[in-house]
């Protein structure tokens, strides 16, 4: 059961990464490879606020949320808006991701830093397994985040406008939807989300520059499993990925956990490329 909690909590992080991907995918119609790097920035801001400067917790959340929101907004303006074709976004977003990692490394170095949890982090026993409060918080955050996004999309006009814009941006603008602000807003929202979860992700993963690529890829597995654009899908996908990883580490060995997740990704892509709950369908001509 301890393994299950471990799997669910790391899976929750993957859910949150995938949610960020989906927000940008739906509002801006593209894939932000640097999303995991935004979360990493949030983690480092949490470290800076809690360890280096000693700010009150409330302020740390504010700074992290606002700070990463600004970084995400800048990324949209600099790396996405000027590029016409979506294919080019892969190159520029990989570039943005690399740039962010480089800057983080310049400021904080390459070692892994420990981020304290904002509350007491003593292990407790839940349902027969050892779990640490931050892990429960992460699971809760993932579920709340997913629900919030779902509500936004299904119940508000802005959400409907986002779904429409993700299908046909020009037609959406002819119906009065300001697609530029929508795209920027989506990036900003994904940035705020990434920043605000920093103080929770940090204690679980440590703060180190290589964090981003691992989260980016596993978050992608979550999204692929659930289907691009599907909120409920990425929740399932994220938790399943986390569980597979934890169970493999426990029963087979640490070196095999990433390999197993990779195998899982290949199987999904080969068998159900649209994901379990995804909407994209293939049209031949």
């Amino acid at each position: 059961m301890t393994t299950v909690w471990a799997g669910l909590s790391v899976g929750a992080i993957y859910v949150l990464v995938a949610l960020g991907y989906n927000i940008v995918f739906i509002t801006a119609g593209t894939f932000n490879f640097a999303n995991a790097n935004l979360i990493m920035v949030g983690v480092f801001i949490a470290y800076w606020g809690l360890v280096q400067v000693g700010l009150p917790v409330f302020v740390v959340f504010l700074v992290a949320g606002a700070g990463v929101l600004l970084v995400a907004g800048a990324e949209e303006r600099v790396a996405f808006r000027p590029v016409k074709h979506h294919d080019g976004h892969l190159v520029t977003s990989v570039g943005a991701a690399t740039l962010i990692t480089g800057v983080v490394q310049l400021i904080w170095g390459a070692d892994a830093l420990q981020v304290p949890f904002i509350a007491k982090n003593n292990p407790t026993s839940v349902l027969g397994g050892r779990v640490v409060p931050v892990e429960l918080w992460l699971i809760g955050l993932a579920l709340v985040g997913a629900f919030g996004l779902h509500a936004l999309l299904r119940w508000t006009m802005v959400g409907l406008a986002s779904l429409a814009a993700s299908e046909d941006r020009e037609a959406a603008s002819l119906r009065g939807v300001n697609t530029r602000w929508l795209g920027l807003g989506g990036f900003a929202l994904s940035g705020a989300l990434a920043g605000v979860i920093g103080p929770f992700v940090g204690p679980k993963t440590f703060a180190f520059a290589g964090l981003a690529i691992a989260l980016a890829l596993k978050g992608f597995v979550a999204m692929a499993m659930g289907g691009f654009g599907s909120i409920s899908g990425c929740v399932v996908g994220g938790f399943v990925t986390g569980l597979v990883e934890a169970l493999t580490a426990r029963w087979v060995g640490g070196t095999y956990e990433d390999l197993t997740v990779f195998a899982l990704l290949l199987v999904i892509l080969m068998v159900r490329p649209t994901g379990l709950l995804g909407e994209r369908t293939e049209r031949i001509i």
């Binding site: 119940w155 508000t156 006009m157 409907l160 406008a161 779904l163 429409a164 299908e167 046909d168 020009e170 037609a171 959406a172 603008s173 002819l174 119906r175 009065g176 939807v177 300001n178 697609t179 530029r180 909407e279």
Partner: protein
């Protein structure tokens, strides 16, 4: 016998293009309330470019677009919708993955209402196009071509525009459906809407036109009331370049 009222939509000296390619050089036209202005011309003459420039999808390099007295030339496409001008693009560009009802709601986006209040406004369009009410919960992509065209028009009407622009609404539709589409457009105009209609089907369009404008290589070569200019042979001459 129409009194010469001020046009709702006035386009003057419009120049526009795509990148290096200049398509429009100097286009002027007007659309009055309750009347249908038909824009004709060969392929490449600039009809769609004109609509796109008026709608705000393409930037005008020169000229002005004035809507109900307000200069909207520098506004973005979404802002222009709020000023009362709506466009139905060629090719039935509705949102296929969304339901018919959601498509209508989206049409009313600029009204600034919540979903529930907006749903009440849909009733008017469901009355006009009853076959949409029957399929309100169906994904729009599953409608036939003619139904999708109706949905596109209904969607544009949700924004309560004063001027409606249509780009080849009959394209790709079977002849029976074409007839009913033109009947719908004529009925809308009779209710007071100003209509700017781009068409390749010269005969159908001339039957419902109040004004006719013919473009050739980005300039207006024929412009006037349909009663004077609406002779098909005059139009054909313009097409074949005998007037310019």
């Amino acid at each position: 016998m129409s009194v010469e009222t001020r046009p709702l939509l006035e386009v003057d000296g419009l120049a526009a293009g795509y990148g290096d390619l200049q398509v429009l050089w100097d286009v002027a036209l007007g659309v009055r309330a309750g009347e249908i202005t038909v824009l004709l011309g060969r392929n490449g003459a600039g009809k769609t470019t004109t609509l796109r420039a008026v709608a705000g999808l393409s930037r005008a390099s020169a000229g002005s677009v004035v809507m109900a007295g307000n200069d909207i030339t520098r506004l973005s496409a979404d802002a222009r919708v709020r000023r009362g001008i709506a466009m139905v693009q060629e090719g039935k560009r509705i949102f296929r993955r969304r339901t018919v009802h959601e498509n209508l709601l989206l049409g009313g986006y600029t009204l600034g209402l919540g979903r529930r209040r907006l749903a009440e406004r849909c009733g008017y369009n469901y009355d006009r196009f009853p076959m949409l009410r029957d399929r309100a919960g169906t994904p729009a992509g599953m409608l036939s071509g003619g139904q999708q065209q109706m949905l596109a028009i209904a969607q544009a009407l949700m924004a309560e525009p004063k001027v409606l622009m249509l780009d080849e609404p009959s394209a790709g539709l079977a002849p029976t459906v074409v007839k009913s589409t033109f009947e719908t457009v004529a009925a809308l105009s009779a209710e007071g809407l100003g209509v700017l209609l781009v068409e390749q089907q010269v005969d159908h369009a001339l039957r419902i036109a109040s004004h006719v404008v013919v473009l050739d290589v980005g300039r207006v070569v024929v412009s006037g009331p349909a009663s004077e200019v609406g002779d098909a042979s005059v139009i054909r001459d313009a097409y074949l370049g005998r007037l310019s």
